[in-house]
């Protein structure tokens, strides 16, 4: 029984991870992770570019889409 519950839980977590990935919802998490690892070794505070807040990030994303549109196929 426990294994079944566990299987359903991990299955739905994997599905949620996949759907979010394909829809692009994980973009902010990826951005934050990138910013963290990028400068993890750096002691110098100057080197750190300020990390955008979630709201700023999504606005920046649509600004980038504005400037650089992506085609959708027929």
């Amino acid at each position: 029984m426990n294994t079944l519950v566990h299987a359903i839980k991990s299955g739905s977590a994997a599905l949620a991870w996949y759907v979010k990935g394909v829809m692009g919802e994980d973009a902010y998490d990826k951005y934050v992770a990138h910013q963290e690892t990028q400068h993890a070794g750096s002691v110098d505070e100057q080197d750190r570019t300020p990390v955008m807040t979630e709201r700023e990030f999504w606005r920046d994303l649509s600004d980038r889409q504005e400037r650089n549109p992506q085609g959708r196929c027929c």
Binding site: V22, A27, T37, Q65, Q70, R72, C73
Partner: protein, 761 residues
């Protein structure tokens, strides 16, 4: 846009890959283990591949040789899947091993240009979904439906064999070449590889082709929605739904994309159900019954507004909705086809394939089958996607085979399912729906008389089949609902109602299918207008530098206006065409798409030749040769054929002669203005054919010249970016092999901070 500013450097390829950081676990499986998982042929593996081959072989025999009264749809599914598996396992691996030679020791642009935004290493399985959602649209749903008039076999063979030898090869090659060049676009690669004339021709051809493709996709929507109050209501509701989603994401819950897509999906279902109720009321039917011309004008105005509005408000949320619907519906259809397994009564090959007198698309199998089914077998448009976002997100080089080649196999499977859905409907109904109103008169009696006069074996259409189907799907009529979308929707509804809801749900499923096709197409129209506007601005910028500044409002509105006017003109021409519209214009769509494929393959051939890989250049030359022959021959027929049904100018001259002879009605044009419209339309279509074929011939010739030059000079150069050592690892295929799992575990054991840390920029 780091990729545009960097100049391509042609250099010798012997530059080795820099040494790997020895503090890290290996970033690549070593030579033996790369193929290790597959090279060791265990008895179990051999047995599995023999079983796949046998099942595939039996399925093809059932389709091609055993011809009973009917054939079951499951054989299409098995034939397709088994052949894809063999093509993927053996042919794409062959290309990988001998032609592309991906090297996981090299960092991809997503790694060495990582910015956490545009360039970001993405899980291969997620990226596969991403890439698939970007390449698959209405194209593979429409072409196979129209080609079904030639029988089921030619279309099936072309979709399956074509994708393995041509379509998937093109997508894989362009994705790989763009990835090796920092994610450079097809246009930029054309300029780099083919020189100024070839490159400019490639860019002009791309813009012209985009115009035609947008126009014809829009025509499909107009044909599906004209005089359908239900469809008009539910599809137009997608605009307020998308606006709501945009506002929600912008101001209320930024980033909650899945959440808002689910809300949007629920609203969309409500719009479909509501559409059914509204179309039954007198005021609803009166208000939402819109003729083709006002509908076309509506789409043109909408296209302009959508292209100048901020992306977050309309374009992005609609795209989320479209992606959500796409993956869900396609999955659902696959399951339904396997459960229902419809019987198909269509002959394998009809006389139309040989005689070229089919009412839906005129012309014989060769070359017109290959331009009618473009997407699904070989789609040049994909080269724009494969050199767009995807190469900037690839984590490891060896994943390109799964994403590029594998993604296209998936689209081909969508085409096969569309074909099955269209084939599963009654033959007589199929011809009544797809023959233009010029032939059927748009009435039930006219359609019955016309279809029964075609002399198809086993087809005896009765009026009640048409009236009953119309009543089942909640439409006033099914006669001459051309463009492929309504036919597919009937087929899909027919299959889906057997799984979910029964006959009472037929009308819901029909409008669900129309909605989902319209959603894809409108997304493609919005995005296509925007992309082509940027291309136009970039090209105009070479003459008037001010246009390069895409933030310049006047310039961007002007460029948008030009693009919308161009596709709008073709759309109105198609909608008002006395000859039927879709049947005269669809060949242009297919030719345009295949010419773009020829351009992409020509660029690929030049790259392969420059690299000195002449031993395996046939991998590119084969599909390039075929696409060139098919499209140039089809274009020549469209320009020079003396048969009015095929040649645009022959049709033109026939009408001019009739007009000069003082006739006021001729062929299917019943009035003088209709005759003048035909004369005008055929001239424009003919000139467009000449333009496309000339540009394509220039590009292909440039590629052949570059190839010959490379051959003579024993070239061994490349315009790839300098190799940079990779510092990350990920498996190549969907499922990790045991060796890959072992290495993955080694990486996973490292502390998070050390795993991807690197000095960037």
């Amino acid at each position: 846009m780091a990729s545009t500013s960097r100049m391509p450097v042609t250099r010798s390829v012997d530059t080795g890959v820099p040494d790997q950081d020895t503090a890290l676990p290996p970033v690549s499986l070593d030579g033996a283990a790369v193929d290790g998982g597959s090279r060791r042929w265990t008895p179990v593996k051999i047995a599995i591949w023999i079983a796949i081959s046998l099942l595939g072989g039996v399925s093809w025999v059932m389709l091609a040789i055993v011809r009973g009264e009917s054939v079951n749809a499951i054989w299409f599914v098995f034939a397709a899947i088994c052949t894809y598996l063999i093509g993927y396992r053996f042919y794409s691996k062959f290309i990988e091993k001998h032609l592309l030679k991906p090297d996981d020791r090299r960092a991809t642009p997503a790694e060495y240009m990582a910015d956490g935004k545009d360039f970001a290493a993405t899980d291969r399985r997620v990226l596969f979904g991403h890439h698939f959602a970007a390449i698959a649209g209405a194209g593979p749903l429409v072409g196979p439906v129209l080609a079904a008039q030639m029988g089921y076999l030619p279309g099936t063979i072309w979709i399956i064999v074509g994708v393995i030898l041509a379509g998937a090869v093109q997508d894989y090659l362009i994705l790989f070449f763009s990835m090796r060049r920092g994610g450079r676009s097809l246009g930029q690669m054309a300029r780099d590889e083919l020189g100024r004339i070839g490159g400019t021709a490639a860019i002009l051809a791309t813009i012209a082709i985009m115009i035609i493709i947008i126009a014809i996709l829009a025509l499909v929507v107009v044909n599906a929605l004209a005089s359908s109050p239900w469809g008009v209501f539910s599809v137009s509701m997608t605009i307020p739904i998308a606006l709501f989603m945009g506002v929600y994401l912008r101001f209320m819950r930024p980033g909650r994309i899945t959440e808002v897509s689910i809300i949007g999906f629920v609203l969309l279902m409500a719009a479909i159900i509501g559409g059914g109720m509204i179309s039954e009321t007198a005021w609803g039917a009166a208000f939402f019954t819109v003729g083709p011309v006002p509908l076309a004008i509506g789409i043109i105005i909408y296209g302009f507004i959508a292209a100048v509005l901020p992306v977050w408000l309309l374009l992005a949320p609609r795209d989320y909705l479209s992606t959500f619907m796409k993956i869900g519906t396609i999955g659902m259809l696959a399951v339904a086809i396997i459960i229902v397994r419809p019987e198909i009564f269509v002959p394998a090959v009809t006389s139309f394939a040989v005689e070229g007198n089919g009412p839906i698309v005129s012309g014989t199998l060769f070359p017109f089958l290959f331009v009618t089914i473009a997407c699904g077998a070989l789609s040049g448009f994909h080269a724009l996607i494969a050199s767009g976002t995807t190469p900037k997100l690839i984590e490891k080089e060896r994943q390109t085979r799964f994403i590029g080649y594998g993604g296209m196999l998936m689209e081909s499977f969508v085409a096969i399912m569309a074909l099955v859905a269209a084939l599963s409907i009654d033959q007589g109904l199929y011809f009544a729906m797809n023959s233009s109103a010029a032939l059927t008169g748009g009435t039930v009696q006219g359609a019955v008389a016309f279809v029964n006069s075609l002399g198809l074996t086993g087809v005896n259409l009765t009026p009640d089949v048409l009236t009953q189907t119309a009543a089942d799907i909640g439409e006033s009529s099914v006669v001459s609902r051309t463009g492929g979308a309504p036919t597919l929707a009937v087929g899909l509804a027919h299959i889906m109602q057997q799984v979910f809801g029964g006959a009472g749900m037929m009308s819901f499923w029909y409008h669900f299918a129309i909605m989902f096709e319209a959603l894809f197409i409108l997304t493609a129209v919005d995005a296509g207008t925007r992309v082509s506007r940027f291309m136009l601005q970039d090209s105009l910028g070479n003459i008037f530098p001010k246009f390069k500044n895409t933030a310049w409002r006047t310039g961007s509105w002007l460029a948008t206006g030009i693009m919308v006017a161009a596709w709008g003109a073709v759309l109105v021409m198609g909608v008002t065409d006395p000859l039927g519209g879709i049947n005269t214009l669809f060949p242009l769509f297919g030719i345009a798409n295949q010419l773009l494929a020829a351009i992409a393959l020509a660029v690929s051939m030049a790259i392969v030749a420059k690299r000195g890989l002449f031993k395996y250049i046939w991998v590119v030359a084969l599909p390039l040769g075929f696409a060139s022959v098919v499209t140039i021959y089809a274009s020549m027929l469209k320009i020079f054929s003396p048969v009015p049904g095929i040649g645009y100018f022959a049709q033109h001259n026939a009408f001019v002669a009739a007009l000069d002879a003082g006739q006021t009605r001729f062929s299917t044009a019943t009035t003088l203005p209709a005759m003048q419209a035909v004369i005008r339309n055929t001239m424009i279509q003919g000139l467009l054919s000449i333009l496309f074929v000339s540009l394509a011939i220039i590009v292909i010739s440039a590629a052949i010249m570059k190839t010959a030059q490379a051959w003579r000079s024993h070239s061994n150069a490349t315009s790839e970016d300098e190799p940079i050592a990779s510092r990350i690892y990920a498996p190549a295929g969907f499922v990790a092999t045991p060796d890959e799992k072992k290495l993955e575990a080694e990486w996973a054991a490292r502390p998070e901070a050390l795993r991807t840390q690197r000095s960037g920029h």
